[in-house]
Amino acid sequence: MSEQKIDGFELKPGFKGMASDTGSDQTMFKGVHWGKAMMWIFLLSDTFVFSCFLISYMKGRGSTIVDWPNTSEVFSLYVGGVPVPLLLIAIMTFVLITSSGTMALAVKYGYEKNRKMCGWLILATAVGGLTFVGMQVFEWSKLIHEGVRPWGNPFGASQFGSFFFMITGFHGFHVSIGVIFLFIYTYKVFAGHYESKKRGWFTKMKGDYVEIEILGLYWHFVDLVWVFIFAFFYLW
């Protein structure tokens, strides 16, 4: 980190810098927008939510009396009569990770005040998220057709369906909330609310392109959580 100055306060790198920021007045995270700090702390709290879900899942899977279903069979798609394990999940993951990329670019163009590019990239992210949720709906309906229910399934331990629907559902809910906000912010960016300093509908506060970065933090988090769900649920 290069040395920065915020209102005459020299930001030093490393541990010493952290200590001096912590010991200073006014702000602990120098130059960090309130909203951005809030999002980080919210995500920390949300991390605990997903950790509790995943740890419960591990505990539940470890203590069932019936065998756990073979996930590479349950989650396979038939392509020309040949089962391809995890095909759908691979595509879903690819789409979601790609949308993280477009989100990062949107943040970059936002800070460069390139309104058009920023707007299009947020829209692309939203479409990516929507595609992900759509594929998740497809996956759910396929499994439901095969008889998987929250209270039981034909493949093995009943907890499989319980944890599957609960955890992917909770994650899908996060993605859906994100998609709604992405569409709202697409509108806000294209309509130029940040340039005209238009006040928010509810909060009555003026916005800034930093909001795109805050939204991006949330979106990357949702992606990261998916990686863990992918690893623990589909690969294990």
Binding site: G8, T27, M28, G31, V32, I41, C52, S63, T203, K204
Partner: protein, 612 residues
């Protein structure tokens, strides 16, 4: 040094233009405070009655809303405890009460008092009101989210109260809601009651998260110029640490509530093992009830400190102000708060010694539990050393503080009993446990709340509460609370189990009858005594004498607002600039026995103030 220090004007002090009241000297070198990093906060002032008092974005109004809603639920909890005591002391008078009713009252009393009363009161009530004022901010950093937080809490309370009126009534599973009995037929309120409870808890967590983010960011990122973390009043430290705990502990509650809701509604088996009922195997199977206990107590134990830490912080400030002495070992107090907060995440399974655990886990959790006694004892010693040779004013506020210290030590010592596995096993699920946790996290924090109400009422309402009534309130509550809980320790030792509707004819239980009657009478009196405060508040609002600004001669920023009670925006045109900690009381060489945080060093250059 300031001879005629005008504290009404102190909020106008600016770093470079501090003018000494007596000599008129300006000393920019030693009075330097860095310029503001963040611009003025953009505040939305309400225009209509609804925007000013109902859906209000001002943290102070939100704090009062939280306070009143929490007190309402607290009164419901109090009435439930009366009903319980009526059954235990005088069962012949409680003919209307069935065992199911009793379990429902026990459950709702516990949940209401811990979550909806104490947590909401300390963090939602005192947190909202005091944080922005004490750190020198205009408002919370996200006023709109803050407003949503209160209304989410309000809905949570409404849903909770609705469970009294649904078929089957509220849940009667005990406040810990242990599965599998919680959601099985035969437990009172296993239908709609438990469902509403779980929904209400989830709403509470969501609402609290919104508030908690506000408290944390306001403290971390919106302090005024000169306000370093180590110059914050301990009240803010206590509330801050409690908020951090809540942000990390409530997720476990949310997750367990979601999973149990699914167990209830969709017949999943997260927590439900294979169950035989009247010879028939139920649909459930393969789940782990112990998992719920782990999740619940991972929330439940930090929850104890979510209630206790704000009380620790507030009482430190009250003692310091009313003993006219700086808090002894401020930094140690801060680190003790943080240390207790951190340790509280590693002790949860001491609630589960009898649940069936590997003995090594019991050993581990007993060790961590007893380690918590170290920072806690530091705090108690520091409170006592703060009082030592202080200029103590025995007013109502100080009485509550002294009551707190005694009660807290009492409850803490029985905590050491219960922290040890071998002592806990025979004592668990007896009245000893009831006595322990009511002393340490019921009565003790409540005494702080009472002290805080008497202390800050002049700020909130601009009028002084009646001292005489306050002392009556204190003495009845203090002596009464000991009359209730001291005998309970004994009941625990003779083995009276908690949560029993009646003691039947068990011979050794009959010796507890007289004591139960005594406890019940004391409980009725103590409960009734709380209405002295309600009466005092109503009377004071109508006819009380007007409070001068800063009646207690305190140093912290909340007493140096532009108007009393403070208006939206708190500090008038200019935010205060802070030069010192809030504990400069009785400084040798100073004219007054207090030096406000806003006083510049050049004004008190001949005194022996500590560098903070």
């Amino acid at each position: 040094m300031s001879d005629e220090y005008d504290n009404n004007k102190s909020y106008q002090a600016q770093s470079s233009e501090v003018i000494d009241g007596s000599t008129g000297s300006v000393n920019p070198d030693i009075d330097y405070v860095r310029p503001a990093e963040v611009g003025e906060q953009d505040l939305y002032h309400g225009h209509s009655f609804i925007e000013k008092w109902v859906f209000c974005q001002d943290a102070k109004v939100i704090g009062v809303q939280y306070f009143l809603t929490a007190v309402f639920t607290g009164i419901v909890g109090l009435i439930l405890s009366w009903l319980m005591r009526l059954q235990l002391g005088f069962p012949e008078l409680a003919g209307f009460m069935t065992a199911e009713h009793y379990y429902q009252f026990v459950t709702m009393h516990g949940m209401i008092m811990v979550v909806y009363f104490l947590t909401a009161l300390f963090l939602g009530g005192f947190g909202n009101y005091l944080i922005p004022l004490m750190v020198g901010a205009r408002d919370m950093v996200f006023p709109y989210v803050n407003m949503l937080s209160f209304w989410m809490f309000f809905v949570a309370v409404a849903v909770l109260m609705a469970s009294f009126f649904v078929p089957g009534g509220p849940t009667g599973a005990g406040w810990t809601l242990y599965p599998p009995q919680t959601i099985l037929e035969g437990t009172p309120g296993s239908g709609m009651g438990i469902l509403l409870m779980l929904i209400s808890l989830s709403l509470f967590v969501i609402g609290f998260t919104m508030g908690g983010l506000n408290y944390m960011i306001t403290i971390l990122q919106a302090r005024t110029r000169g306000m370093t973390l180590m110059r914050m009043p301990l009240t803010v430290w206590g509330i801050f640490t409690a908020t951090v705990l809540a942000m990390l502990a409530f997720p476990a509650l949310l997750v367990s509530a979601i999973m149990m809701t699914l167990d209830k509604v969709l017949q999943t088996s997260f927590f439900m093992p294979t169950i035989l009922k009247a010879g028939e195997v139920l649909e459930y199977g393969g789940g782990s009830p112990i998992l719920f206990q782990h999740l619940f107590w991972f929330f439940g134990h930090p929850e104890v400190y979510i209630v206790a830490l704000p009380a620790f912080g507030i009482v430190s400030d009250l003692i310091s102000v009313h003993a006219r002495k700086n808090i002894f070992g401020y930094r140690m107090m801060v680190w003790a708060i943080v240390g207790i907060g951190g340790l509280s995440f590693f002790v949860w399974a001491h609630h589960m010694y009898v649940s069936g655990m590997n003995p090594w886990f019991g050993f581990f959790f007993a060790t961590t539990t007893l380690i918590i006694a170290v920072p806690t004892a530091m705090k108690v010693y520091n409170w006592i050393l703060t009082l030592w040779r202080g200029n103590i004013r025995i007013n109502t506020v100080m009485l509550w503080c002294l009551g707190f210290i005694v009660t807290f030590v009492n409850g803490g010592i029985t905590g050491i009993f219960l922290g040890n596995v071998s002592v806990d096993v025979p004592l668990s699920d007896t009245y000893f446990v009831i006595a322990h946790f009511h002393m340490v996290m019921g009565i003790a924090p409540l005494m702080v709340i009472m002290g805080a109400v008497y202390h800050w009422f002049p700020l909130v309402a601009g009028k002084m509460l009646h001292e005489g009534l306050g002392k009556w309130h204190f003495w009845i509550t203090f002596l009464g609370a000991y009359s209730i809980y001291f005998p309970m320790h004994y009941l625990g030792f003779i083995g009276v189990p908690r949560r029993y509707f009646e003691m039947y004819d068990s011979p050794y239980m009959t010796s507890a009858v007289g004591m139960n009657e005594f406890i019940s009478i004391a409980a009725f009196i103590v409960g009734a005594a709380q209405f002295i405060l309600v009466f005092n508040i109503i009377k004071t609002l109508k006819t009380g004498k007007k409070a001068e600004q800063n009646p207690w001669k305190a140093n912290s920023l909340e007493w140096y607002t532009s108007t009393v009670p403070p208006e939206h925006g708190n500090f008038g045109e200019r935010l205060p600039v802070v030069h010192r900690w809030p504990y400069d009381f009785s400084v040798p060489g100073a004219k007054d026995d207090f030096i406000p945080q806003t006083t510049a060093p050049s004004e008190v250059i001949h005194t022996e103030v500590e560098k903070t």
